[in-house]
Symmetry: none
Subunit: 232 residues, 2 copies
DNA sequence: TTGCCCTGTTAATGAAAAGTTAAACAGCTT
DNA sequence: AAGCTGTTTAACTTTTCATTAACAGGGCAA
């Protein structure tokens, strides 16, 4: 069945506001992951997955909109709520409203806040409850369970390492499209240099070996750019 | 509901002004690519594509107007805003002639600047939001995906190399018009000498081979000038 | 028509990227 | 500190791709 309460990613650099928001949500039974900057937020989302993301617009390094764009690359339907300062111009709010499921202007009351959160969840999961995050993927004849780090074909199950699972998941999210080397290195390794690149190659080799039992699934190289998982 | 905000190309050689402008735009949620000279700006535009370009008039090597003209060759509808140090009537006239959508004289307040930017975007994308950059082209019976570097006809898909994709895209942008050899060499290779010219010929040969399955698509030579992709 | 430059085409070359395997290493646990 | 596990580094091989070369036509001006 489904989970009882949604899990929420909160990206907020302000200590005080972050603490309060997390607390309010947790008291309502939500599972909350609080990250202080966009990069960590994206990493966490990739690894854990959430039912809803709440992003402050003003963030160090990577602002909320950029974060939102990158989150949507990982999951195009993920509900997103923005937190914005009151000083923001009206037309601007209109501008990004299209990409957001809701926006809340600071300061806000906890009641209003919770109402908005629940409204978005209700709208996105029509029974009011999240369907539960999907971290089991069907890759051709394979069944890949990301959280349990297992890869199964017919009766053969293999346990993957964290890195293997990360690379496989990212490839699958971008299946039939080129996954730029740089993107993968940035997201999974956090750095993009010669050696991490070579390291990735080693993982690709290993994953190909794991996936060789279904010829419909291949990992193709696009020279100088990255890799493309092709699922026919 | 995929894109949140417009992506902007900023071409500005001055460190301080460039930094400030980028920052101001980023804080407003725009995705900003800051290039320090015209050549790099054009290259970046060709490879990534943007919703709006902001060009300083005074630039090393290639001035803003020249850059604008070349940008318009790549995308005749791209919105362009000029920045200039002083009120130079001559420049203004020349600027509008090249097709500026707005013209901002330095120094300017961030408020004024942002208003102008938003106004131009609003004017150009009537719903206030950019349409999103298109990098999938229909070339006769072919479907060419620039970012994924694929060229497809019916069920046959072939992956292109970076250079092949670059040349093909440039030819297509100038379809039914002559693409000067020099233009292509400058933009894609960055230099225009005998050997790069010969190299280009090799790519033309290869692209012709790839495109031979649709007789309605040809790459014709214009002796001494360049090539013309003809799509009937 | 002749000669010269420009283009078409194919093959050879060399450099860089990727494939592969094994050893080294780091972080745990026992 | 020995063993175990997972990741990175290293060393070597193979592949890929842009460039260069080599040769064959073509177009155009004189």
């Amino acid at each position: 069945m489904s989970k009882t309460k949604a899990s929420i990613l909160l990206v907020e650099d302000d200590q005080n506001l972050g603490f309060v928001v997390r607390d309010v949500l947790q008291l309502k039974g939500y599972e909350v992951d609080w990250q202080k900057d966009g990069t960590m937020g994206i990493k966490s989302f990739f690894e854990k997955g959430f039912d809803l993301c709440i992003l402050d617009v003003m963030l160090p390094n990577k602002d909320g909109f950029t974060v939102a764009t990158e989150l949507r690359e990982l999951d195009k339907d993920i509900p997103i709520i923005f937190l914005t300062a009151k000083t923001m111009q009206d037309d601007r709010i209109k501008g990004y409203k299209a990409g957001a499921d809701d926006y809340i202007t600071k300061p806000f009351s906890t009641e209003e806040f919770l109402l908005r959160v629940e409204a978005v969840l209700k709208r996105c999961f029509d029974n009011g409850l999240p369907t539960g995050r999907k971290d089991v993927f069907n890759i051709g004849k394979y069944v890949f369970d990301y959280t349990n780090q297992t890869l199964k074909i017919e009766k053969n199950e293999r346990t993957l390492t964290k890195r293997e699972a990360d690379v496989l998941k990212l490839l699958f999210i971008n299946r039939n499209e080129v996954l730029a080397r740089e993107t993968a290195l940035r997201l999974i390794w956090g750095s993009d240099d010669y050696f991490t690149g070579r390291s990735m190659d080693v993982f690709i080799t290993r994953l190909r070996k794991y996936l060789k039992d279904d010829p419909e699934v291949t990992i193709d190289n696009v020279h100088g750019v990255g890799f493309k998982m092709v699922v026919r």
